[in-house]
């Protein structure tokens, strides 16, 4: 098994990768031995009026850009532009996210301030500047990747990658002529002069491979695989153990059935006789209202109490009794209409009796002791008294 794989690998490794070349000439190259020679050669080539030429050296030779009369590189400006873009983007991002869109009070500090934004702004400046510098240096300025450039796989390029210094003149140069160029290269001391032809599959331009069907198909496959994986993980894998520990916990939930307690409830009732904080038991609970004689309204009559009583009355009582206690229910017959609160019977009741009805309920009306606090019930009593007096106003009330 392993032997087979080894043989296969050997076979692949020994496969001849060299592409066939066409007859059309791409360039003529010559090799030089020392940095001084190549500097000299580059200078003479520019003097001779060649423009489409290049110098290939295993490392950057100092002063070569002057000898080749190259323009200053624009890489620095690129860095500045993209670095500045990073600064702006960071400040806008932080300003909008924490200053506008998601204002969070953290230690009473301003939502957006410059000092805490500095670290991230700096990092994003460097990040964008650095990525743009490297990326654009390779792609925009150097037109890479270009792996099928005709210079590849020639003796010329292999030598210049190691210890020789090469100068190449391209056939597209306007002064190009095979015999002259060969003669010229010899005259400036070039050795191993080599004619370099195009590959049979001619790609002398940097063709953007991103529009290749294969590349687009690869992108599509990568997209689909990534999306499906991400979806699968987020939708299924994270719901499997052990990632489900947040919602599969060893505990009983409020409405769950319990097998542990005899009554089958997981919620436990309070101990017999438990009284909630602030609750005072009502001594006439469940008794007829004739028994109620000793209850007096503890609240004073003033605007505040009446306003409270009005608010509570309108919320809890008015749906059946009507806003003025006239028994005009807004429930449109879903419940039988209650009697008016302006009958003689109710008017002659003591405050305690009204309070007792609210607390204890009467006929269809149920107890409101749970919904309305004790003081609010007394406030309602005051308000009902005010309503009663308003509908039976005497002349002196107008003063």
């Amino acid at each position: 098994m392993i032997g087979k794989i080894k043989n296969k690998l050997k076979e692949v490794n020994n496969r001849n990768l060299e592409q066939k070349r066409s007859d059309e000439l791409y360039a003529i190259g010559a090799l030089f031995d020392t940095p001084d020679e190549i500097m000299d050669a580059a200078g003479k080539t520019t003097e001779a009026g060649y423009e489409e030429f290049d110098v290939n050296t295993p490392y950057p030779v100092h002063g070569m850009d002057q000898a080749m009369k190259l323009k200053n590189t624009m890489v620095g400006k690129t860095t500045f532009i993209f670095g500045f873009l990073g600064t702006t983007a960071a400040l806008l991002m932080i300003g909008w996210m924490s200053g506008i869109d998601y204002q969070n009070i953290i230690g009473g500090k301003p939502f957006f301030a410059i000092p805490p934004a500095i670290p991230i702004t700096f990092e994003l400046t460097v990040l964008l500047g650095g990525l743009a510098t490297a990326g654009l240096m390779l792609t925009l300025f150097n037109r890479l990747p270009w792996i099928n450039n005709p210079l590849h796989d020639t003796n010329y390029i292999k030598q210049t990658a190691s210890d020789k210094f090469g100068l190449v003149i391209y056939a597209k140069d306007k002064n190009f002529n095979i015999a002259t160029v060969e003669g010229f290269l010899q005259s400036i001391g070039g050795k191993s002069i080599e004619k370099i032809n195009f590959f049979e599959v001619r790609e002398d331009r940097v063709r953007t491979p991103i529009f290749d069907f294969k590349f687009i198909a690869l992108l599509a496959v990568v997209t689909v695989v990534t999306a499906v994986t991400a979806y699968g993980i987020l939708r299924y894998v994270l719901f499997l153990p052990p990632f489900d520990f947040m919602w599969k916990q060893e505990k009983v939930l409020p409405q769950e059935k319990s097998t542990f307690f005899a009554d089958g409830f997981s919620m436990r009732p309070p101990v017999e006789g438990t009284v909630s904080r602030g609750y005072i038991p009502y001594e006439y609970q469940g008794l007829p209202d004739s028994v109620v004689t000793l209850l007096a309204n503890p609240l004073p009559i003033n605007a505040e109490v009446l306003a409270k009583g009005k608010q509570r009355f309108n919320t809890y009582c008015s749906p059946c009794h009507g806003y003025y206690g006239e028994g005009d229910s807004r429930l449109r017959g879903q419940f039988p209409n209650p009697p008016s609160l302006h009958t003689d019977k109710v008017r002659q009741w003591a405050d305690g009796n009204i309070y007792h009805v609210i607390t204890n309920g009467q006929n269809v009306m149920s107890s409101y002791a749970k919904q309305i606090s004790r003081d609010d019930r007394w406030a309602i009593v005051h308000y009902i008294r005010a309503l009663q007096r308003a509908l039976n106003a005497k002349d002196e009330d107008l003063n």
Binding site: V12, N13, R15, L17, T34, P35, D36, I38, M39, D54, V55, N56, T57, P58, Y59, P60, V61, H62, G63, M64, A67, M68, L70, T73, V75, G76, G83, I94, M97, S98, D101, Y102, I106, P119, I120, F122, E123, L124, V126, G129, G130, L131, T133, A134, M137, L138, F141, N142, L144, W146, I147, L151, H152, I157, K158, A161, S162, D163, P242, F243
Partner: protein, 456 residues
């Protein structure tokens, strides 16, 4: 004006005048030849350590970080200690490749590529720890400000978020810097290789053809990347120190932390680079490229940064006394004489006292003693982070909540695993990519640059 008068050279960078072909052969030998026995032994050990770490990691993921020694008093245990330690290791790489490049310290050439690779592996190793320390690493994406269904954004006022940006930017830019440096060397390997290797190198080299029209942009970009990396490397450990300094805890809340952390980071990083280089040059017979002179210079930097760190240790005590703040004073007395005094004095002797031996030239040029000292530096710098994290936390304002931190086997296995991961990456890197920058090294050999007799 000759080249040599512009760049004064103290000593030849590649002493025995080697031809470029010989340099190619030496540098590409580890990559092109079958791995040696030594390499296999080394990677067996490192991957064994890695596997032990992987078991501990699985244990952590399955049972949660309750398997660690952290408790409610010492909430930051080994997780943060290891994070800060490994991030610090990374700093030497950028210092060597970027800062020394800007200062025209051309002796850096032989070790820069390797140090950069170490930076990248160290930052990856470091990045693992805060992520697993969160307890739910699969939710790490919440650290990134992305529009989410809860319509909430990250807290931009938190040093922990600055840390996320700093460390990820640092990793990205270091990786870019390293990759850009690799392109010409991979192209040189491509032109020597055949078959599948050639295909891989062809793609990785992007079709680089050593053109001087390209070198022009390339060199400028390299210079700019060095310029960007320099403030970046200083910012990263500064921001890491903010994780501590912005808190109001005595022992952490000091303004000395950023420079102190940066100096410590460079110190520990150089310790690690020296440790690995001493072994590497021996294993791959690169003694004439990574020379004793290189190592001596690294020892000098260790001496300088070690003394800076020592100054910071003393200054912390002075400030605790001078502040008149009893809680601060207690923390420092507790550090030096409390239950973790052994950790404090290990740190102090390894980082401050022993490196002082580098004042002696004999010791700077003695490989076995140097090896011992740089390993002690690594130990000391790990303990520095332990002291900062654990001794500041374990006795807080309420004596009733005082507690000790005891690492569990999971903690120790994760620490071991981090070393295993780091060294496995280093060994694989040495095997598959040139660990010395070929193009840069050629450019600084004798007679590599024109004498400029024709052009001025």
């Amino acid at each position: 004006m000759s080249f040599d008068s512009t760049y004064t050279r103290e000593l030849p960078l590649v002493p025995e005048r080697s031809s470029f072909k010989e340099i190619d052969d030496v540098i590409f030998r580890p990559v092109e030849e079958a791995p040696t026995r030594k390499w296999f032994i080394a990677i067996t050990i490192s991957s064994l350590a890695l596997m032990i770490g992987a078991v501990a990691l699985a244990n952590t993921f399955y049972f949660g970080i309750g398997t660690w020694g952290n408790n409610s008093t010492v909430g930051w245990g080994f997780g943060i200690v290891n994070f800060v330690f490994w991030i610090g290791i990374g700093h030497a790489g950028t210092l060597i490749s970027a800062i020394l490049y800007l200062f025209r310290q051309r002796w850096r050439t032989g070790i820069a590529r390797f140090a950069e690779a170490m930076t990248i592996f160290a930052v990856i190793t470091a990045g693992i720890f805060p992520v697993i320390h969160t307890g739910r690493p699969w939710l790490a994406a919440y650290l990134i400000p992305y529009p989410n269904q809860n319509s909430i954004w990250v807290n931009f006022n938190s040093p922990l978020l600055w840390d996320v940006f700093a460390v990820s930017t640092y990793f990205t830019i270091s990786f870019v810097f390293w990759s850009v440096g690799l392109i010409p060397d991979i192209a040189a390997m491509r032109d020597r290789a055949s078959g599948i290797k050639k295909r891989i190198y062809t793609v990785l080299s992007l079709g680089w053809r050593n053109s001087n029209r390209h070198w022009q942009h390339y060199e400028r970009a390299y210079l700019i990347l060095a310029g960007l990396s320099t403030p970046l490397v200083l910012s990263v450990h500064t921001i890491v120190s903010f994780d501590f300094a912005v808190a109001i805890l005595p022992g952490w809340h000091t303004t000395i932390f950023p420079p102190y952390f940066v100096a410590g980071a460079i110190f520990s990083g150089f310790g690690m680079v020296a440790t690995v280089l001493i072994i590497l040059r021996k294993v791959y017979d690169m003694e004439h490229i990574i020379t004793l002179d290189h190592l001596e210079k690294m020892c000098k930097i260790l001496l300088a940064t070690g003394s800076m760190v020592g100054y910071a240790y003393c200054m912390e005590f002075f400030m605790a006394w001078y502040s008149g703040y009893i809680f601060e004073q207690f923390v420092f007395i507790n550090r030096a004489f409390g239950p973790y005094a052994w950790a404090y004095w290990t740190m102090f002797s390894c980082n401050v006292i022993f490196p002082q031996l580098f004042w002696f030239k004999k010791i700077r040029r003695n490989i076995p003693i140097m090896m011992l000292l740089v390993i002690l530096v690594n130990v000391g710098m790990w303990f520095e982070r332990f002291v900062i994290v654990v001794t500041s936390l374990h006795r807080d304002f309420l004596p009733s909540s005082w507690a000790m931190f005891y690492p569990t086997w999971t903690d120790l296995a994760l620490l071991l695993g981090s070393f295993g991961f780091f060294f496995t990456c280093v060994l694989l890197f040495v095997k598959v990519l040139p660990s010395i920058s070929l193009a840069e090294l050629k450019a600084v050999t004798e007679n590599a640059q024109p004498t400029h007799k024709h052009h001025h």
